[in-house]
């Protein structure tokens, strides 16, 4: 453990033999496409099929053909697989087509005409909150939360200073390089089988059972190699799997449905846009007295996961700070755009962006440096978070922060840049963010999942780990095999992690929320220890055995007893308390902690911002595999730099207008700085071999760190991301005008 075991499926990936869904081809297979609405809100009056297409050769599925419930089962039953009459967002699926000719079916899609009666759409969160036009429920609000700690209303009168700020973030596209896709087959005896690119096979199964009125054993879901996901393949795959399965059911043929990039970007989920308002009371010596926070996210047209995203964003909104009086009020709002959904960080990058910009503003108001102000207020062991979760581990956040600043040469650079900037049109600056990320499902989530894993020895003595955790690049196969091998005393190469197939693996919950290493790998560890114990009990194994002897023991045991299989089911650690009504208690099994430091140069002629150096220091419990862990942090930071400086979704009438890689810009190999990654490790007693979650953490810090650095470089305070060159130029010219104006009036 803690060693760089090579990625399990690396050889297949580098030799081009790994099988992604689009690499599959079945005899007689048809290609499926989705006909979508171009209207953001409307009533469908008629569907007309244009001339020049041999429609009799096509399989066509309409909402009225659906054999079961026309609802994508997830949390709230509001989203149809195919809109029956009412359109609630542009790109909403209305009709499905399949044909054996891929080019023809794509062309045919443009010859289906939806004749609609437009209704007034709502695109703006404030407009939605006003409820002048009601587009969802009674008030356009999917979910609200309120966290109350102490008495925030009592602090304002006596506070030395009150600092307010408003911060906002825009949508971000996950932009996994493999577009979404599914391949479905139908058989009257065995039911539906769907193979595809996905994070959560059991979510797909849960959504397809009511669609076809079939029991779980007749809805088989198999994950293929998955070319990136980042949350984008958490909930939307249920929709595509349903569509491909409907076409397969109606045609009786296998149907492959692969989105092209334009469709994937326009129609599938993105990160929720957000707005956060802070009002903070602070004493003259820089002690946080009260934090009043309002957090709102735009959920799009259907509820999907917005309530859950809101929950995480709300809990993270007060960050790693000790404050006795906190109120966080939040809302997830409906608008007529395609539903926003899961994306690495899941609400936390939004509220932490606001917080870590705002903490710099408060520091400035009290006349302290950002690091000194934070140090005076950071949580320590024994302190309680906004929800009242007491920090049990011996985390020294002020020390972590100092170490990160030292690694980045922070003080020297502050001074040096100040001198350099006097002479140069390129302004250099340095900034940082100090933050946390809760691992695993929020609150009672893990308790309610009852996750199960199996570990099974095979007749040849090798071992197989069975869980529903998917490999999507983050390293599931490798770390689960490492944990099993270490717990069993087996050779790493003798452990295989089965790719999820709902007929073969137990339900261990979804592969989300940084839960694989901390929660599921812990179950793998427990099941492995039980398996080893069974060998000891049978006398097949004695102390001091070698991996070779372990393998022989498995072989011998199976020859004697027929089967060697153990399971483990998640139990909440003792003393964990969570109140879902009041939002109080232990929000997460554990938090990971980080300090990220960004160095930037801002070209005051072109407005361009370049990140020149990046230090990412984090405490994530025990690091299971240093190469994979480093890769997770580097990749997360890269996405977060894109979020801060490059990636802008342009909306026109509720549709993404720049749904191409040509004009939605993510960082390339020449855009990123060297990302320097450092770990501190405090083993977490309830995590696998001491591990905590780390996959989402690196998405949270870069955006505020970079904007803090831009402020340090230019003196300009930006409160919105993405921060593009045109935004910088605009503010620079405003600043120049007001300086000239001041100079003029002084004269």
């Amino acid at each position: 453990m803690g060693t760089a075991a090579p990625r399990k499926e690396a050889a297949a990936k580098v030799s081009g033999t790994a099988q992604y869904v689009d690499d599959l081809c079945l005899p007689g297979m048809l290609h499926g496409v989705t006909v979508r609405s171009s209207e953001p809100r409307a009533l469908i009056r008629n569907i007309r099929f244009g001339d020049g297409i041999p429609w009799h050769e096509f399989t066509i599925v309409r909402a009225s053909d659906i054999p079961g419930r026309n609802v994508v089962t997830l949390i709230c039953d509001d989203q149809p697989f195919l809109a029956p009459m009412q359109i609630n967002h542009a790109e909403e699926p209305v009709l499905l087509l399949a044909h054996k000719n891929k080019d023809l079916v794509r062309r045919a899609r443009n010859h289906v005409f939806l004749e609609c009666e437009p209704l007034p759409p709502v695109f703006d969160m404030d407009e939605a909150l006003s409820a002048r036009t009601v587009i969802w429920g009674n008030d356009n609000v999917f979910r609200r939360f309120c966290i109350e700690k102490g008495d925030v209303d009592a602090v304002w009168a006596d506070a030395d200073l009150v600092v307010e700020g408003e911060y906002s973030t825009e949508a971000q596209e996950q932009l996994y390089i493999e577009p979404q896709g599914m391949l479905a087959t139908w058989d009257a005896e065995t039911g539906i089988t769907v193979r595809g690119s996905m994070q959560c096979p059991f979510y797909v199964q849960k959504a397809l059972m009511p669609l076809f009125n079939l029991p779980p054993e007749k809805v088989r879901i198999i994950q293929q190699e998955t070319g990136g996901a980042f949350g984008g393949k958490e909930e939307y795959p249920s929709m595509i799997a349903g569509h491909a399965a409907l076409l397969a059911w109606k045609s009786g043929r296998p149907v492959k449905m692969i989105y092209d990039r334009e469709e994937d970007m326009a129609a599938t989920t993105k990160r929720h846009p957000s707005r956060t308002r802070h009002r903070t009371a602070v004493s003259r010596d820089g002690q946080l007295l009260g934090m009043d926070i309002e957090f709102a996210i735009d959920g799009g047209a259907y509820a999907t996961l917005s309530g859950t995203v809101l929950s995480r964003g709300t809990i993270h909104a007060a960050g790693p700070y000790r404050c006795d009086n906190i109120r966080v009020r939040s809302a997830a709002v409906a608008t007529n755009v395609p539903p926003h959904g899961a994306f690495r960080g899941f609400g936390a990058p939004q509220s932490l962006f606001a917080l870590e910009r705002h903490m710099n503003k408060v520091a400035q108001a009290v006349g302290l440096s950002p690091e000194e102000f934070r140090s005076r207020n950071l949580l320590r062991q024994g302190h309680a978070t906004a929800t009242g979760q007491v920090i049990k581990e011996p985390i020294d956040l002020a020390g972590l922060q100092q170490r990160a600043l030292d690694l980045a040469n922070y003080s020297d650079k502050l001074q040096r840049f100040q001198e350099l900037n006097r002479e140069s049109a390129i302004k250099r600056g340095i900034g940082f963010a100090t933050f946390l990320h809760g691992a695993g499902f929020t609150g009672s989530g893990e308790r309610n999942l009852h996750s199960v894993v199996h570990v099974e020895a095979r007749p040849d003595g090798t071992v197989c780990v069975l869980s529903s955790m998917t490999e999507m690049g983050q390293g599931t196969n490798t770390i689960l095999a490492q944990v099993a091998a270490e717990a069993l005393g087996a050779a790493y190469d003798d452990v295989e992690v089965l790719r999820p197939d709902t007929t073969r693996v137990p339900n261990s919950g979804p592969t989300v929320a940084s839960r694989t290493a901390m929660i599921i790998a812990k179950l793998v560890q427990s099941a492995s220890l039980s398996l080893k114990q069974r060998l000891f009990d049978a006398g097949s194994l004695t102390d001091g055995y070698s991996p070779r002897q372990f393998k022989d023991a498995c072989r011998e045991y199976i020859a004697r007893f027929g089967e060697l299989k153990t399971s483990a089911q998640h139990q909440e650690p003792p003393g964990v308390y969570w109140d879902d009504e009041k939002y109080k208690g232990e929000a997460y099994g554990a938090f990971s902690w980080a300090v990220h430091v960004a160095e930037v140069s801002v070209d005051t002629v072109t407005g361009e911002i370049q990140v020149d150096d990046f230090v990412a220091l984090q405490e994530v419990g025990r690091v299971l595999n240093p190469v994979l862990a480093k890769g997770q942090i580097e990749g997360g930071v890269a996405q977060a730099i894109g979020y801060a400086l490059y990636e802008k979704v342009v909306w026109v009438d509720g549709s993404m207008a720049n749904n191409q890689m040509t004009n939605y810009i993510m960082p390339t190999a020449v855009d990123l700085p060297t990302i320097r990654v450092f770990f501190e490790e405090i083993p977490y007693e309830h995590g696998a071999m001491g591990a905590k979650g780390l996959g989402e953490l690196p998405m949270d810090g870069a955006a505020p760190a970079i904007l803090n650095a831009v402020e340090n470089a230019t003196g300009l305070s930006f409160c919105h991301i993405p921060l593009l060159p045109e935004d910088v130029l605009k503010k620079l010219s405003l600043a120049r005008e007001s300086t000239m104006h001041l100079a003029g009036s002084a004269a």
Partner: protein
């Protein structure tokens, strides 16, 4: 327009396909020759997942019509290993953790191999430049740079 016969050499083997002359080389490789290691990420020449080496040039096969590949020598990811032994860059990708989800990996390898053939001992800036036509959403590129650097040192 009817179909035509296009002849070329792929991974050392002479091949002939009868195809529409404007069919994308990407689809010819994947559908007609079952070489599915070459991937489609965007279909517009931005992401480089479909990169192959054609007559010693790195090209995005989604932008190359089949006819343009007439008589060409093409190398895809399936052609990197020799006699079952991985190319040194493939081995370094495994060691450095340069492949995460793996979907950009075939194109990234082709770009890396092409770079090393032109520039056996590239600087970090040359590596960045050489891979700048290939997008990776998982790694932040750092592990990939390391793999290319390590493979370069072995070639000396």
């Amino acid at each position: 327009m009817g179909e035509c016969a296009v002849r070329f050499t792929v991974n050392g083997e002479p091949r002939t396909v009868v195809t529409h002359p404007m069919k994308r080389l990407l689809d010819v490789l994947r559908e007609d020759l079952n070489l599915t290691g070459t991937k489609e990420g965007c279909g517009e020449g931005e992401c480089g997942a479909c990169a192959v080496i054609l007559n010693n040039e790195l090209v995005n096969s989604c932008l190359v019509p089949a006819l343009e590949a007439s008589d060409a020598t093409i190398c895809t990811v399936e052609g990197l290993a020799t006699d079952g032994e991985l190319h040194r860059l493939q081995r370094e990708f495994i060691k450095a953790g340069a492949a995460q989800c793996g979907i950009c990996t075939p194109g990234m390898l082709m770009a890396g191999v092409h770079l090393l053939s032109r520039c056996p001992n590239p600087t970090l800036d040359e590596i960045r430049e050489g891979l700048s036509g290939n997008l990776c959403r998982c790694t932040g590129y750092m592990r990939i740079f390391e793999a290319v650097q390590n493979a370069a040192w072995q070639s000396e």
